[in-house]
């Protein structure tokens, strides 16, 4: 059931929010063995009264959002016993809207990673095929919506952490403009790239949730002023005359059979969209810049992450290890608390920030970021949105030991172009566009900064034309 359907049953008293919660909880518990999407499943039903569309609707939230009195681990051993004393703004708003929390979902440790395999409670599996990954870092949030446990969930997106797993799991994943949703209480990964994101099974639900959690927040200085608009009201507005573009070099970077198959599907959908009156043009973009998307992302995110996680010392909170001096306590706590993947990223981040390397690595990466964002902003003057396949892959196999060639154009460009959305803080949405190898694949739409309404409006039309909506794992129509 999607939000609208649940709402209807609640309104005509066919069901109650308690019943919806119990059902969700049952599904959550049942699905754990299969896909392992939760760190915590709520014991008790708690709910506030409200007139919101989300009143009584069960949902899940990524375990890197601060929830008062509810364990919040960021899927890391260092926080495995951390019980926050304050609420993140997103959680607070959902609570106030009467939404009912079912559970806290697994992520890649500290939201760093794209597989969903590195959380301290074990790997998250793809509901469509448990031998495959769900994608990450918002792994559990994507998987539990795909599995039909909850109609929507909250994630966070620093590079593609909502929009990639959405593609792998066959759900809709949206991250609005940087600052549209408060980051207060979201455990930071890379502050200048971090976004709050939403998973649901259709664009309307995405808009409904965004309407509730968006808005200026005096606890987050980077939040935008409020808009006098409900996204759910504008979804059906006519998009006649809107113009989209895709980038030739990104499409052409596909070399493997699988990615070529996905590109073929993308092109087929582009034709379909064109036939339905949407203008779409091919645009050429400097390939050398595109090839640096990943390194620029990697450099900025590792550097910021190293600093952002320096509060994890075990003194005030966290899983403190013994030691004979404060330094020893810190070393033992952090050595035990972080997995090796995290440590490697921190060392890299620390190297990047060093005085002697900063100019060449960090500052230059930020220069490329500006260069790219300026070029993108120019394109957004001419076009209403950028449309691309969200990935050149279907969800990879978990035991696939084959690491991607991290220097190939296909990897650098096709697998990483979603970071454009984070570089410029653009609203960006992934929705299902079809199937390859019986697995779902997503199409992504990115619009200019602050054009969240436009992005959702166009996405809603894409959804209608493509005709894939409200699906759960296996392609079964959600019931």
């Amino acid at each position: 059931m999607n939000i609208t359907e649940m709402k209807e049953l609640l309104d005509n008293k066919t069901t109650t929010s308690l019943k919806l919660f119990e059902e969700s909880k049952k599904k959550a518990l049942y699905s754990q063995e299969k896909i392992n999407s939760f760190v915590t499943i709520m014991e008790d039903f708690t709910k506030e009264e409200s007139n919101s569309l989300l009143n009584g609707i069960p949902y899940a939230i990524k375990d890197n959002f601060s929830t008062k009195n509810i364990l919040t681990t960021a899927s890391s051993n260092i926080l495995k016993n951390y019980i926050p004393v304050f609420d993140s703004t997103v959680y607070k708003k959902l609570k106030k809207a009467g939404a009912v929390l079912v559970g806290k979902t697994v992520l890649d440790e500290l939201a760093m990673g794209g597989s969903g395999l590195t959380g301290h409670t074990g790997a998250v599996k793809n509901p469509w095929d448990q031998t495959r990954i769900s994608g990450g870092s918002s792994a559990g949030s994507a998987a539990c919506v795909s599995e039909g446990v909850v109609p929507f969930s909250i994630g966070s997106d620093t590079g593609d952490s909502v929009r990639k797993p959405a593609s792998f799991c066959g759900v809709v994943g949206f991250k609005p403009t940087y600052g549209r949703i408060s980051r207060f209480g979201l455990f930071p990964f890379a502050s200048s790239l971090d976004h709050v994101g939403i998973f649901a099974r259709n664009v309307f639900d995405i808009a409904a949730v965004t309407d509730v959690i968006k808005g200026f927040d005096s606890n987050d200085m980077t939040t935008l002023p409020d808009e006098e608009i409900n996204y759910t009201d504008i979804l059906k507005e006519n998009i006649k005359g809107k113009k989209l573009f895709y980038i030739k070099e990104i499409i052409e970077s596909a070399k493997e059979n699988e990615s070529k198959e996905i590109i073929a599907l993308f092109k087929k959908q582009i034709e379909k969209l064109k036939n339905n009156g949407i203008q779409i043009e091919e645009v050429s973009f400097d390939k050398t810049i595109l090839e640096t998307l990943f390194p620029v992302y990697f450099i900025i995110s590792c550097a910021e992450a190293t600093s952002n996680n320096s509060n994890l010392t075990g003194f005030i909170f966290g899983n403190r290890m013994p030691g004979s001096s404060p330094k020893e306590v810190m070393i033992n706590t952090r050595t035990e608390g972080f997995s090796e993947m995290i440590k490697r990223r921190f060392v890299i981040g620390s190297y990047i920030l060093e005085r002697e390397n900063q100019e060449k690595l960090f500052i230059n990466a930020k220069r490329v970021r500006r260069m790219l964002v300026e070029k993108m902003n120019k394109l957004f003057e001419k076009y209403d949105g950028l449309i691309l396949p969200a990935s050149g892959l279907v969800a990879p196999k978990i035991d696939e030991s084959k690491e991607p060639d991290k220097l190939s154009s296909e990897y650098l460009i096709l697998e990483n172009h979603l970071v454009i959305g984070n570089f410029g803080g653009y609203p960006s949405i992934t929705l299902p566009m079809g199937y390859v190898k019986d697995m779902p694949v997503g199409i992504n739409l990115t619009c200019k900064a602050q054009a969240d309404a436009l992005c959702l409006n166009i996405a809603s039309h894409l959804e209608e034309i493509i005709g894939i909506k409200d699906i759960c794992a296996g392609g079964r129509k959600d019931v």
Binding site: N64, F65, S66, T72, A74, L79, Y82, P84, V85, F86, S88, R183, F184, G185, L186, F187, P188, S191, S192, S218, N219, D220, M221, T222, A303, E304, T306, S307, N309, S310, N311, L312, T313, F315, I316, F317, P326, K327, M330, S350, L353, E354, R355, Q358, F362
Partner: protein, 473 residues
């Protein structure tokens, strides 16, 4: 001969109502962990909320110290791990400090000297640590308190110069109302960098750094000690090691803490959670207008009004005293008289009783009224001293004291004598009558004196003095 080259880093906690990046209370308290928020404790997910007033106050100080000020507010992170630093980084200003290339003018031995301010920036304080036998206790009340750091050029050569500079700086800080600047509460802390060089040397020697000095007295002792220590090393032909040293107060020596202070790489970078805030010309101008006339200028003004240079210095040493004096001047008192009364009587009382000037009962208006009574001769200078003392001690207005003590009657023998003689001179006939034995005529003369004093003269005194004076004739 070696000479010392000394530079200072002065940390000053601002007297804002709330902390630098959180809205928890900025107030000194002994009750640990009471003025704190989730931001001060760096719980995951918190974001910094920079304090407007702290920005304003530090800009004000930067301007008072003649610094160049930026056109934007921008913060950076300084990354390092320490038990007293909850976030694992300190938010500070590196790229765009609030002050650059300023100076402070100071009068030393009658000449005005300029001391360079290299940089002034705004940052946050760390937690307080109490060291017990086997453990250290962390109190986060101080964590996140706004802190201004003032870095001077290495422009001092001797301890007295440093102390005079620090006293002047503290004074300006108080004049600008940006801090209580109390050393006792750790609100003013000084780091001293010191090296020795020969007059013929062109480069600075290797320096030692002594951090977190709480009292100016210690600053002086430390510099004296370091000059001696480093000179001895150099004279032996040995090398001074670049290091951080610690002052051991009971032994009056410095000891090595750690070597190579420059080796730490703080990995500064722009704080991403605080969007750039522009500082308009108008805004900066409005801050500048709030800077009060500073001590040195006030001192000059007082001297021009005829105040003794020594007293002028005393008046400006404490802003409250100087403000008191300024207010009295507005009430058209004689500048010299008012200065005398403040520097001798009032400050004498404050010092003897070890109280704060702000706690005295006397107001500038009371002082002005008292001075008017003296000049109108309604009380004598001698009586005024009593009035002043009672006003301060018994918390009564001069008018109340004069009434209570009957001073509103003329009880001053000299004044009465004056009136008596005037009356005797005007009535030679009656004096003759008296001299001829009709002594009861004295009643008439007493009446005349009382009349002449408009009834204010003390009758008993009049009668006594009249008898004396008439018999002297």
């Amino acid at each position: 001969m070696y000479k010392a080259v000394i530079g200072l880093e002065v940390h000053c906690e601002l007297n804002t109502k709330t902390k630098m990046f959180s809205s928890s209370i900025n107030e000194y308290t002994k009750d640990p962990n009471t003025n704190i928020s989730v931001i001060d404790l760096a719980f995951p997910g918190i974001l910094p909320l920079p304090n407007k007033e702290a920005v304003k106050k530090s800009l004000k100080l930067a301007m008072a110290l003649n610094c160049e000020t930026p056109s934007i507010v921008l913060f950076d992170r300084k990354n390092y791990y320490y038990a007293d630093l909850p976030k694992g980084y300190q938010i500070t200003q590196m790229t765009c400090p609030f002050g650059k290339n300023g100076y402070l003018e100071i009068e030393i031995d009658g000449t005005i000297k300029k001391y360079g301010i290299h940089q002034l920036h705004l940052e946050e304080d760390t937690a307080n640590m109490e060291h017990l036998e086997t453990e250290s206790l962390l109190d986060y009340n101080r964590a996140g308190v706004p802190l201004v750091e003032i870095i001077t050029d290495p422009c001092f050569n001797e301890e007295n110069e440093v102390i005079t500079f620090l006293e002047n700086l503290r004074n300006i800080i108080k004049y600008c109302d940006i801090s209580e600047a109390s050393s006792d509460k750790g609100q003013l802390r000084v780091d001293v960098n010191i090296s020795m060089m020969k007059d013929t040397d062109t480069v600075l020697g290797t320096r030692a750094e002594i951090k977190g000095i709480n009292s100016f007295n210690n600053v002086k002792e430390i510099i004296t000690y370091e000059i001696k220590r480093q000179t001895e090393i150099l004279e032996k032909g040995e090398k001074v090691i670049q290091e951080t040293r610690r002052w051991v107060d009971d032994k009056k020596i410095t000891v090595s803490m750690r070597e190579k202070v420059d080796a730490i790489d703080y990995k500064y970078y722009v704080e991403p959670n605080i969007p750039v805030v522009p500082l308009s010309k108008e805004y900066k101008e409005s801050i500048k207008e709030e800077i009060p006339v500073l001590p040195l200028e006030r001192e000059k003004k007082y001297i021009s009004l005829g105040v003794l240079p020594k007293d002028a210095k005393t008046l400006v040493r404490n802003k409250e005293v100087s403000d008191f004096y300024e207010e009295a001047l507005l009430l058209e008192v004689d500048p010299k008289d008012a200065s005398n009364w403040i520097t001798t009587r009032i400050l004498g009382y404050v010092n003897n009783n070890n109280i704060s000037f702000s706690d005295i009962y006397m107001t500038p208006l009371m002082l002005a009224n008292m001075l008017k009574m003296i000049s109108s001769k309604s009380i004598s200078t001698q009586q005024a001293k009593e009035v002043c003392a009672l006003c301060l001690e018994e918390k009564k207005t001069p008018e109340e004291i004069v009434k209570e003590k009957g001073m509103e009657q003329i009880s001053d023998p000299e004044s009465i004598k004056e009136i008596v003689n005037k009356v005797l001179n005007e009535n030679p006939e009656q004096v003759n009558i008296y001299k001829n034995g009709k002594t009861n005529i004295i009643g008439f003369l007493v009446g005349q004196v009382l009349k002449a004093s408009e009834g204010k003269a003390n009758p008993a005194l009049v009668s006594k003095i009249l008898n004396e004076e008439i018999n002297n004739r």
